[in-house]
């Protein structure tokens, strides 16, 4: 935590991390103490903290207790708005990625329902009449797809595409 405060003071955190840490810091004694301490060290190095320097923050905050709390709408181009937008974008991206992964997992999962159909297909392919019919169809389509230069892929696509048909025929 203290190392993050050190980075925060040096403006080395991105806006989101900065925003999150500042939120955590405000009102937390230990964090505020480190924030004050680190700034004081900088003040001394730069010669800003001189004779008579005392911490006035408690007095000032006590006076501010009497002041009404400021509450203005967040502007579109403000840092908070940007941070919220970043978060929305990140959440959206995560949701899209999760959906894609889900689709991929479902698509590539072995389908238990297809197993008996594959068996039926194997049996069907063993039938010489069906093999003949299927081969004629493959040759016919193969001639068509060859002109597109998609032989390997198209043959596979045809085979997969005709699984349902062949199963139907076999039944």
């Amino acid at each position: 935590m203290n190392e993050r405060i050190s980075e925060l003071i040096d403006n080395e955190l991105d806006s989101r991390a900065c925003d999150t840490l500042l939120k955590k810091l405000a009102g937390k004694k230990a964090g505020t103490r480190k924030w004050r301490q680190y700034h004081l060290i900088g003040n001394v190095i730069r010669g800003e903290a001189g004779a008579g320097g005392v911490d006035l923050s408690e007095k000032i905050m006590a006076q501010l207790d009497k002041e009404p709390t400021i509450l203005i709408p967040v502007r579109k181009n403000s840092i908070l708005a940007r941070v919220r937008l970043d978060r929305f974008k990140t959440t959206g991206a995560v949701a899209v990625a999760a959906s894609l992964i889900l689709v991929a997992v479902i698509s590539f999962q072995p389908d238990a329902e297809n197993r008996p159909r594959t068996a039926t297909l194997t049996q069907a392919v063993m039938d010489p009449a069906l093999i003949q019919e299927f081969n004629e169809m493959l040759v016919g389509h193969g001639e068509f797809t060859a002109s597109w230069g998609l032989n390997g892929l198209a043959s596979h696509a045809k085979f997969v595409g005709n699984q349902a048909l062949m199963t139907e025929i076999a039944q």
Binding site: D10, E12, S15, L22, R46, A51, L56, I70, L71, I72
Partner: protein, 195 residues
């Protein structure tokens, strides 16, 4: 130089109703504001009053702060005006020199002002500053150099890494370790005061 995005983020937090976020701005800038005020008023008690008024005024005016200028530039103007108004109300004239100067000479024009700092306050403050200076002086050379390049020269970690010919992670760690060592010395002093 590193841009100060913390200030804007803190301002937006305050504008969003988080009053405590203003405390972080006070802690960050109180000494710098006091230094500005000390160009007008030498009396420490008066300086403190003006510093407090500056921050109260800044808080009240914060809803109107749009971030067109840096927060400190905005705060600086409030501090200068508050100090001038204070002197005007007391029937005194501000020192002619350095009203908008860069603060390199902080004592000119203040010879006739009375210093009413209590000896205890001066002693306490001097002790604290002395402890920090001594702790910095005793730091291992690479820690001291990294800290000073950051705090005095205002270099970013990447610039310090180039200057010191080491990875950025090392710079980050050196600066943090330096602060921790000095911070511990300050805590020891505070504990001694309590005893």
């Amino acid at each position: 130089m590193v841009r100060d995005e913390n200030d804007l983020a803190l301002v937006r937090h305050v504008q969003g109703g988080n009053k405590q976020a203003f405390n972080l701005l006070v802690q960050k800038y109180q000494y710098r504001v006091k230094q500005v005020v000390s160009r007008f008023v030498k009396d420490s008690a008066e300086q403190e009053d003006i510093v407090q008024n500056t921050f109260i005024k800044a808080y009240r005016a914060l809803p109107g702060f749009r971030g067109d200028s840096a927060f400190y530039t905005w705060l600086y103007r409030i501090a200068v005006n508050t100090a001038k108004n204070h002197l005007a109300a007391a029937g005194r004239r501000p020192p002619v020199q350095h009203l908008d100067g860069d603060g390199m000479d902080r004592t000119r024009g203040m010879e006739n002002l009375v210093d009413t700092n209590s000896p205890e306050a001066v002693l306490q403050n001097d002790q604290m500053i002395e402890v920090i200076r001594k702790a910095i002086h005793n730091l291992p050379e690479e820690l001291k150099e990294a800290l000073e390049l950051r705090e005095f020269d205002g270099l970013s970690y990447a610039e310090i890494a180039t200057a010191m010919d080491c990875p950025i992670g090392t710079v980050r760690s050196r600066i943090f370790r330096a602060r921790e060592v000095v911070g511990r010395a300050l805590e020891d002093l505070e504990e001694e005061k309590i005893r």
